[in-house]
Amino acid sequence: MSSDDAMELWITGAGMVTSLGTNKDACFEAFCAGRSGVDALQAFDDARFRTRNAYEIKDRTEGDEPLRATRWLCDSLNEAVAQAGLTEGSVQIPVLVGTGLRELRSVELFFADDAQFDVRDLHFGGNIRERVPGSGAVYTLSNACAASNYALALAEDMIRLGQTEIALVAGCDAITESMYGLLGRVSPVVAERLQPFDRDRKGVLMGEGASAIVLETAEHARRRSAKPLARLRSVGLSCDAAHETAPDCAGIERAMQDAHDRAALVAEDVDVIFVHGTGTFLNDRTEGAAIANVFGSTSKRFVLSGIKAMTGHTSGASGLVGVVTALLALAHKRVPATLGLENPIDEIAGMRMPTEVTNLPHLRYAQVNAFGFGGVNAVVMLEGGPT
């Protein structure tokens, strides 16, 4: 470990939009109340699909419309920027955006429904610079369902390398017809809701959302009298290099271990793990086994929380939806339950995955998992303020 690791990184603002709310506090309240965003498909012709439900954001006025993901992305970035108290004076802040599906929904509407579409809107740079004050270079990273946690790693590196003192990090995804259809196509049974880590889970269902944070050095934040919501301790990365769609236990363990090592923490320190938990047979089993392998020797009673039970799988946004949820959990000392969990999978036997919202007065360290197609893994370690 070099002296760089002493550099303290603060998260000073956050924003989130999901099927359960248009801002982070509304979302967190809904998660804690155990509400679900699942409903019948809003805009797709449901006769053409095997599954019929999704966790959509209900903001369409008539039929379907392009650039919805871009809208939520800019909204969540502006929520984060406002909370951090960034003024127009702070200009040219780099923005790292993680997304699984970019604006591919708009591409579908362009080809199938003659909607207007400009190829420059496939990535998010132009629209962010236009709508988010102070934003500069924008990087659209399309790293499947680990995208926004990967984006956070790249922002962490830029700051630790001294290339910038502050960065915005975000994730967003709108459901594409193609991905929704294909995921249903490969699912052996028809899922009506997403049940992370439950023995009777039926598979994944897509959700929509966006989330954003402001990340800066403690020194930069102090200079402008900004307060930390939490500290970013590390992001661990890996790639399975094993299979295009199936997860690999060893690759996931490597990302978790990398996150702990970079944070100079051990498994014993972790109080809560926000699991990736997509509700597919293989993903949950593999993630559960990886957690058991990495955390097996700890005697600590950490808790697991699977928020996709409430939001559905928000794809590339899901990592940072987890991070923003973790920030709020650290602030409120309160962890949302995993809605609908009845029979936890064998892999997490002996671990605590609460079915009621849990108050944890000593909650300090949170781990947020995100794993994606292609075996891309990114694990975030956060530290809350002193109790």
């Binding site: 591919l104 591409v107 740079g125 990087y139 499947a144 196509r185 295009e244």
Partner: protein, 292 residues
Amino acid sequence: MTTTHGVAITGFGMELPGAATTTIADLLAEHLHAEAFDPKIRVGQKGVRYKDHATLLAMSAGQDALRNAGLPLSPASQLNPTCFGVVVSCNLGNANTVVDVVRTLRSQHADATSAMDLPNASSNVMASGLAIRYGLQGPNLMLCNGATSSLDALHLAANCIRAGRAKRMLVVGVEVDNEVTRAFSPAGERWFNGAVAVVIEDSEVAKARNAHVRGRLGEYRFASHNPGRAGVAHGEAPDVTRHVGNAYGAEGLVQLLASSQRVAESARRIVLACGHTFGDAVVATLEVELYA
């Protein structure tokens, strides 16, 4: 955990089907493939079925660069696999898969779609495809960032090395020209159809394995609301668009490859510049030093 070592370029590769008819081909002579692209000949029989065109082009260019860098191709014998990562830059690569699937859904039903299209519907299929094929278990990034994407990719790959996340990165730029991607082209013109690749390494690591160092990466800059591409110190980076079509997410890497073929006896500094495509008010530049 960060390193102050420089970032060395140790391998170049490309897949430019049919490039022999262009002027830039002279600059790229070492790597030419005048014939049409046949993945079975270029990357082998195994595991190429069901892969989309962009992924196959990226694999071929990646293989070329790994060979050029003196690195193994087989995952089982890959050098420091957990410290070897991938960044691919591409904007349009999987659009045809997405559009094909939607057309099937609209005319038929999800049951008529192919499960084999599932990985191709995820935009990062090119980056993960390279990792699987060559056993690269380090950070794996797929950048889809418009006209500056290729130089952003080189910069972020170099950052992975500087931040101690990887010792070595394979960076690939790829775009495809087909019926679907051409519909995005504002004036209906053809896109660049091909892939270019470089291997970059922590310079100490390159030295330790006696790698042939072909260049070094220098400073990266990004500017928005800037007066235009002409306002950037353009160095001698060739105007590749004139020769190979709009290379979009691969452009800076095509510039780098073309420049690498023109280095005479001594070292040469160039500034790669990308941006200002379709009136985009952004420009990225990257300084590179190239050796003979």
